[in-house]
Each structure stands twice: as structure tokens, then as C-alpha cells.
């Protein structure tokens, strides 16, 4: 079996199942004294984690030299969206009891919800343009440019977490550190290119 087939026929289906574990866990773990809060935090945590995992694909590809890794990226990104939908849905339906006005007030008045809502909205066009047909329709370059939004989405998701925490910032700061590391991987080649363009004696 070629590496390409191995990824498509073995790794990908396996990973698909693994990515459902956080959802299945909700049926197993003790939801505690405040189940709605547990559900909200759990799905929010996993939406953020999948965003970061998705952003780790490219660096991982570069580090390992295995180009085919990129074939699982779309699925991981869609899982991030999946958990974000659950997160937002639980907030809207269970936490706010479908009280539309209360949700609007929250989005307007509470900065962490404002940014959380913006992040959720930003993921919608990315999920919607994730099909092969949409990629073709947009064309590679435009599609790529659109999907750069994900950097802002991830940053927004970390800020959402930071602003929601009362005093102990340690956990969201760990996510911020991971995100900055993943972004640094992308800026490093840019910097080298910039440096060689500016300082190269050929110019």
C-alpha cells in the first residue's frame, strides 16, 4: 500500500473515529453539579483544541517531510467547526433557553461573548467552502486567502477563553503559547524570505 493510500484508507477513517471520542465522553463522564456548564466548557475546549490541531498540520508536514499528512487537515478543521457548533448550540439552547434577546444582550455587552460569537461566525464560510466543488469554484488562490481567516479565528478563540476566566489565566495562556508557536512556524520562512529579499547583495 502506498503512503497516500494508507492515509486515505486507514489513517483518515481511524482519525475520524478518534475525533468523536470527546463527544462520546459526554455520555460517560459525570457532568457534575452544573451539567450545562460542563457541556459548554467541554465542547468549547474541544473546538479550540481542534482549531490548534488543524493549525499543527502544516508545521507537522514540514517537520516530518510527509506531504500526505495534509489530507487529514480538512477533516480536522471540520471537527473544530463541529465542536464549535455544539458549543454555540448548547449555549443558545440549554444555557440561554432560546432566549434570543438575552443572547443578543450577551453578544453586545460581554466582550468575551462578542469575540466568541465573531469566531463562530468566522468559521462558517470556512466550513461552507470546504468541499472540493467550492474549492474549484473559488480557485486555489482565492480559497487560500479566504482560509487564512482561521488564524484570526484561533486567536479570537484563545482571547475568548482569556476574557472569560476570572483570575487564573494559566490554562488559556498555555493555549496562547501553543498558538503562537504554531504561528511562528509560518512566519519563520516568511522572515527568511523577507531577510534575503532585503539584504541579498543581488538586489
Amino acid at each position: 500500500m502506498t503512503r497516500s493510500k494508507l492515509i486515505s484508507h486507514v489513517v483518515k477513517p481511524l482519525l475520524f473515529a478518534v475525533c468523536l471520542i470527546p463527544l462520546l465522553l459526554l455520555g460517560i463522564i459525570d457532568l457534575g453539579a452544573n451539567p450545562i456548564e460542563t457541556l459548554t466548557h467541554h465542547t468549547g475546549d474541544w473546538a479550540l483544541r481542534f482549531l490548534l490541531i488543524t493549525l499543527a498540520v502544516t508545521p507537522l508536514q514540514k517537520l516530518t517531510g510527509i506531504g500526505e499528512i495534509v489530507r487529514v487537515r480538512r477533516m480536522l478543521g471540520l471537527y473544530a467547526f463541529f465542536y464549535a457548533v455544539l458549543h454555540a448550540g448548547i449555549y443558545f439552547v440549554l444555557d440561554q433557553g432560546l432566549d434570543f434577546r438575552a443572547v443578543v444582550a450577551d453578544v453586545i455587552e460581554r466582550p468575551y461573548i462578542t469575540i466568541g460569537f465573531a469566531v463562530f461566525l468566522s468559521l462558517i464560510p470556512l466550513a461552507a467552502t470546504s468541499t472540493n466543488a467550492m474549492m474549484r469554484r473559488l480557485g486555489g488562490r482565492r480559497w487560500k486567502r479566504l482560509h487564512r481567516i482561521v488564524y484570526l479565528s484561533a486567536l479570537g478563540a484563545v482571547v475568548h477563553f482569556l476574557w472569560l476566566v476570572k483570575a487564573d489565566l494559566r490554562e488559556p495562556l498555555i493555549y496562547l503559547a501553543i498558538l503562537l508557536l504554531l504561528l511562528a512556524f509560518r512566519t519563520a520562512p516568511l522572515l527568511t524570505r523577507f531577510r534575503s529579499a532585503v539584504f541579498s547583495p543581488d538586489h
Binding site: 457534575g32 438575552a102 455587552e109 460581554r110 476574557w163
Partner: protein
């Protein structure tokens, strides 16, 4: 001749079923304790994690069949297992589950309280001295957290006012400050700078002298579990939960508004008064509604957590949007 009809018995005079249940649990715990020959006063006990039935060594006959304290509610009390596993007690960890898990980090014996400041009887008081002559009551009060969850807890406690009066505060005592234990060797979170330790809270003296203001040593007919602030904590039911400081080691009478931990950390979010007020929104949470532990639907939050009739007079003439 005036004969009281049976239907004139106030519902508050009847034992609530859940209270009855908790008393039953307590009695079975005592029975188990006797059977296991583990005696001793409750101060000799360790912490109480888990269900009441599972911890039999820590009770005292003084906690049984107590009269109801002032303004006790007859609302359904929250589950003991919820109230003991969902805690804000940063000394034992900053997540909701951590305090129950790390309860052993809090050493409650021996325990003394240092009384200082504007009073005629300052000094270091052993906990037993403070409890001495204090008749215990079942004080069943609503607790409303600023994070918009709430509970109904049958505290075992006594009047804060009666206790403070024994220290004879003088005319300069306009406020009273309380301080939580500072023991970074055992309380691991106190080695971080998550909060400016030790935890501090305060009340205006007239607030502290209100009959609803309570010092609690137990709940659900048994001693306080460590994660709930053993061995001595404040309960101020008309204020957000963070005012009800846990594991008190110092009481200080002062002329000026004392430092209060959350207020110091973020004055725009946590006021010194912190009265429950659905009309004053917190930057992170709308305070108009709350969710009772164990319930799915939110309910409306009441001004002063439903104790407006009793305490609103303390704040007449004050702009509660300014002094939130």
C-alpha cells in the same frame, strides 16, 4: 378566647422534607460512628468528602435537631453531593472540582482566630472559645454566586452579630474585615499569584450586625467539609458568594473600608458591597438570572437574593448602581 387553627401553622414551622432527610442522614452517620467506635469532638475530625453516609467520623451531637435560624427558607435544599463537589475555594485549586479533591490540604486543627483593631477584647481565640455559648441553628439560606449559579444550603451556624459583640467593638469600628488562612506550605495554590493572598473580605459594621449575617461551622446537620470553608466561615446570603469568606483565621475591626480580595483584583467587576442585584450587570455575566444547582432552567434573580425585605434598609439613600 383565641384558638389557633391548625392551618395557621406557618410552613416555616414545619420540618422540610429535605431537612428531615438530612437529619436522618446525620443520625445514621452518628450510628455508624458509634458502631465504629470513632468518637471525639468534631474539631478532632478531618475533612468530609463525599456523601454524608460515607463519612461517619466527623459529627458531633451538637449538630443534631437544631432550631431554625432567622429567615430560614423552606425552599428545597440543594443536593449535598452538588454543594460539596462544586466549589469556589481557590486556596484548594481554581477549578470547581479541585477543592473537593484537594480538601486534605487544609489543616483545620488546631484552629484559632485572631481578633484585632477597634475593639476592647482583642486577642487570639481558640475556635472552641468562639463556639462556646453560641447556640447553633439550622440556617437555611439561598446562596447566589456572581457566576450566576445558586444553591439553597442548610448551614449550621450562629449569629455573627452576637459573636462580634463579645469582642466589644468600639465606636471607631465602622467596618469589620475577615481573613482566610494563609498556609502556602499545604495550600498549594497559595504558591501561585492567582490571587493576592491571603483572601480578605469585609462588611460594614451594620451589615455585620444584621441577623442574617452568619458564622457557619457546619451544613446539612454535620461539620463543614474542608472544601466548603471549614472550620469557620461567613455566610452573607444577600451578597454574592465571594463575600462569604471561608476558613477564617482573623477578624479585624477598622475605621475605613477594608481591603477585599476580588475588589482589589478587579474593582470594575467586583464591588465592595457586592449585593445581589439583577439590575447591575457584571461585565462577564448578566445578573438577571441564575441557575440552581441540580436544575436545568434558569430562574429570575431577586434583588438582595430575595432578602430585600430584611436588608434593603441598610442601603437606603445609596445609589446601588454606583456602590455595587
Amino acid at each position: 378566647m383565641l384558638i389557633k387553627k391548625p392551618d395557621e401553622i406557618k410552613s416555616s414551622e414545619l420540618t422540610d422534607e429535605s431537612v428531615y432527610k438530612s437529619r436522618r442522614r446525620f443520625l445514621s452517620a452518628i450510628a455508624a460512628a458509634t458502631g465504629l467506635s470513632i468518637g471525639g469532638g468534631y474539631l478532632l475530625s478531618g475533612n468530609a468528602v463525599g456523601k454524608p453516609e460515607s463519612n461517619a467520623k466527623s459529627d458531633d451531637a451538637r449538630f443534631a435537631d437544631l432550631p431554625d435560624g432567622p429567615y430560614s427558607t423552606d425552599e428545597e435544599v440543594s443536593e449535598y453531593s452538588d454543594v460539596t463537589t462544586y466549589n469556589n475555594f481557590y486556596e484548594l485549586g481554581t477549578s470547581k472540582e479541585a477543592p473537593a479533591r484537594n480538601a486534605h490540604q487544609l489543616i483545620t486543627q488546631p484552629w484559632s482566630v485572631t481578633v484585632s483593631g477597634e475593639c476592647d477584647k482583642p486577642g487570639v481565640y481558640n475556635l472552641e472559645d468562639i463556639l462556646d455559648k453560641q447556640p447553633l441553628e439550622d440556617r437555611i439560606y439561598r446562596l447566589r454566586c456572581v457566576e450566576t449559579w445558586s444553591a439553597v444550603i442548610p448551614w449550621v451556624g450562629f449569629s455573627l452579630a452576637d459573636t462580634l459583640k463579645r469582642f466589644q467593638p468600639n465606636s471607631k469600628a465602622k467596618y469589620v474585615q475577615f481573613v482566610t488562612i494563609h498556609d502556602p506550605e499545604n495550600l498549594k495554590t497559595q504558591n501561585t499569584r492567582v490571587l493576592d493572598w491571603p483572601y480578605r473580605e469585609g462588611l460594614r459594621i451594620d451589615e455585620a450586625m444584621h441577623p442574617l449575617a452568619t458564622l457557619a461551622v457546619g451544613m446539612y446537620g454535620r461539620i463543614l467539609p474542608n472544601q466548603n470553608g471549614a472550620p469557620l466561615r461567613l455566610v452573607v446570603p444577600w451578597k454574592y458568594g465571594f463575600k462569604s469568606i471561608k476558613s477564617i483565621v482573623a477578624i479585624h475591626f477598622t475605621n475605613e473600608e477594608p481591603e477585599a480580595t476580588w475588589n482589589m483584583l478587579q474593582p470594575s467587576e467586583y464591588g465592595f458591597y457586592a449585593n445581589v442585584n439583577p439590575a447591575v450587570s457584571h461585565p462577564r455575566w448578566s445578573q438577571s438570572k441564575e441557575r440552581r444547582l441540580g436544575e436545568w432552567l434558569k430562574r429570575e434573580t431577586l434583588p438582595f437574593n430575595g432578602y430585600a425585605e430584611q436588608v434593603a434598609g441598610l442601603y437606603s439613600g445609596m445609589d446601588l448602581k454606583k456602590f455595587f
